[in-house]
Each structure stands twice: as C-alpha cells, then as structure tokens.
Symmetry: C2
Subunit: 213 residues, 2 copies
C-alpha cells in the first residue's frame, strides 16, 4: 500500500524547512534584512549546506515566491471546489469562499498575517524581471479566479450598477492586502475580517435579486 505522494527525502525536508524560515523572515523584515546566517542558525546547518540547496540568495527568494504562488493557487482552487460542491448559487459560493480566503490569509506563518507578494513588491528594485513576473503571476491568478466566479454570478443576475468585474475582483485582493497591513500595524481586532464582511455586503447589494423577485 504505497502512497502516491512521494515521501520527502532528507534533503527535501531541510530545503523546505529553509523555505519556511525564509518566508517568515521575509514577511517580518524583508528580503534584504534577512541574512543567510540567521536562517542556517535556525535550521541547524552550516553555510555551505545552505549553498548546496540554493545557488544564491536570490535563488532562495525566487523559490520562496514560487512556493507561495503554488500554495495560494492550490489553496484557492480547493476552497472554491469545496464551496461549489456545497451549493449551486455562484454568489453564495463566492461569498463563502471569500471568508475562507481571508481566514487563510490571517493564518499565515508565525501567526502574523502577511502577503509575500506585497512585501516583495516594496523591494522590487532589488530583483530582476523574473521575480517581478513571479509576483505578478500570483496577483493574476487571484484576479482570474475571482473574476471567473463574478462572471458566473453576473450571468445569472446582472449587476445593479455598471461595473468592471476585473476591478471588483481586484478590490477583494486590495482589501485583503490592506487589511493585513492595518492588522500588523494596529493591534485592535482583525480589520481584515471586518473589511471582508463589508465587501460581501457590497457584493450582495450589487447582485441582489431583481426587484421583481
């Protein structure tokens, strides 16, 4: 009885441990302020051990970003699939998925919410175009995912106001990002959650059933 999921080898485990540590550090202090030295100290490994796993510091950055993209992609896909299995109305699917999306964003490493892509976007000048493309890829996927459901919703009931659906999708992304920043600056309860609630109210109002009922 063998599992399809390949058991991670010794090397793969330390590698992903390094990625975990790096991700948390990047979110707390940024890429430049994170030293390889501190990562290996936490991982219990020598410097050359690090360079066995990554070519460069930049290579580490790309790997973290790439993995983050995959996690988001898989996570978001799964959330929508599960909610779609529970109910038919695309508006309800989206509303439920948004809550879970926001909740997942708050449960990021070290229990401090953070958005890697946003953090990296404020350090863009350090990186080549490949990194920039990775960041954009993450955003594009999120937008496309949300947009596809907004399309489904709009097909069943046209929006009450003339609205660009891409912008409406971006709005959700902005609110999550903004909520994260506000939460990490203010200690008072999760602004992210409250803002997502307000966004859901907006969606309900926009796509309310026609007056004729």
């Amino acid at each position: 009885m063998s599992t399809d999921v390949k058991a991670p080898s010794r090397g793969e485990r330390t590698r992903s441990h390094l990625l975990d540590l790096a991700e948390a550090a990047f979110l707390e202090k940024g890429y430049a302020a994170t030293s390889i030295e501190e990562l290996i100290a936490a991982a219990g490994l020598t410097k050359s051990g690090f360079f066995y796993h990554f070519e460069d510091k930049l290579d580490l950055g790309k790997a973290v970003l790439k993995r983050d993209n995959d996690v988001i992609r898989d996570g978001l896909t799964k959330i929508f699939e599960e909610e779609a299995a529970k109910q038919d109305d695309p508006l309800e699917v989206l509303l439920a998925a948004l809550v879970r999306y926001a909740e997942a964003a708050m449960a990021s490493p070290a229990s401090r919410p953070g958005c890697l892509a946003a953090a990296f976007s404020y350090q863009q000048a350090l990186f080549d175009t490949e990194v920039r493309d990775l960041i954009r890829e993450g955003f594009d996927f999120r937008r496309a995912m949300l947009r596809s459901w907004l399309d489904r919703i709009a097909a069943t009931r046209p929006p009450r106001a003339p609205i660009d659906l891409d912008t409406l999708a971006d709005m959700a992304i902005s609110l999550i990002q903004g909520g994260i920043v506000i939460d990490r600056v203010r200690d008072t309860g999760p602004a992210l959650r409250a803002q997502m609630e307000l966004y859901r109210t907006y969606l309900r109002a926009l796509f309310a059933a026609p007056a004729g009922k």
Copy 2:
C-alpha cells in the same frame, strides 16, 4: 516685506534633499537595502556630512516617516478644507476629496506610487516601538479624518445597511494601499483609480437619499 515662512538654510536644504532621496529609495527597495553610501553619492556629500544631519540610519528612517506623516496630514486636511468650501453636502465633499486623495497617492516621489507606511510595515522587525507608533499614527490620522466625514454624512442620511463606519473608513485606506501595490506590479492602467471609483459607487449606494425622496 518678509515672508513668515522661514527661508530654509543651507543645512536644511541638504537635509531635506537627503530625506527625499531616502524616501524614494525606501519605497523602491526598502530600508535595509538602502545604503547611506548611495544616498550621499546622489546628494554629493561625504559620509560624515550625512552623520552631521542624522545620528543613525535609524534616525534617518524615523525622520522620513515623520515627515511623511506631516505631508499626509497637511495634504489631507487641505483637500477636505477646499472641498468643504466648494459644497455643503458632506457626501459630495467626501466623494470629491477621495478622488484627490487617490490622485495624490499616485503622484508620490519618482512618479511610482507607494505608501511609506505600508513599506515600513513589512520591515517592522527591524525597528523599535517608536517607529511602529509613527506608522500607526499615520494610519490613525487617515482613519479619523475619513471617519469624521462619514459621521457627518450618516447624520444627514442614515446608511442603508448596518455598517461600522471605522471599517468603512479603513476600506478606503486599504483600497488605496492595495491599488498602489497592484499598480506597481502590473503595468496596465491605474487600478488604484478604478478601485476608488468603485468605492465611491459603494458610498453613493450606502448613503442614497431615502426612498421617500
């Protein structure tokens, strides 16, 4: 005929020039990745000249943040004063002010939009509580300003849905911040502007004149 505005001395001019350079660099690559060396090279000054103006690198960071807070405070205050002078309806004042606020955010240094407080929030671990308080101060002012106008609006016409006005104020801040990040990652036209438009639509819907007209 003497102006009240004290003419900046030689030292004050180089100091604020350094602040300009630092602010732009912090937004492009972050605090840690910005070296004193590059700043003085751009300013045409020796290293010890820099240390005449600032105790520390951290002192520079605080100074940049402090000045940014002042600029936002003054700018936002002025925008609301001017719009309030033009019309009476607080909703219209807020709607007009929001456009100018977003427009101002896009015109930040180096023509690349950026939010200093957001950038610093992703490097928090580098700083002491004083810096954290500076960042929070900036956010709190913005929220208080927007909130005060939302209160005025809600006093004339109650919102259509039960809504927390602080959250509604935060939403504007989030959208500007999120819009900035999206714009610096994507090249396609200003997402910030489009999102602000959507927010204004939301406000109009929330505070529409009562059905009884």
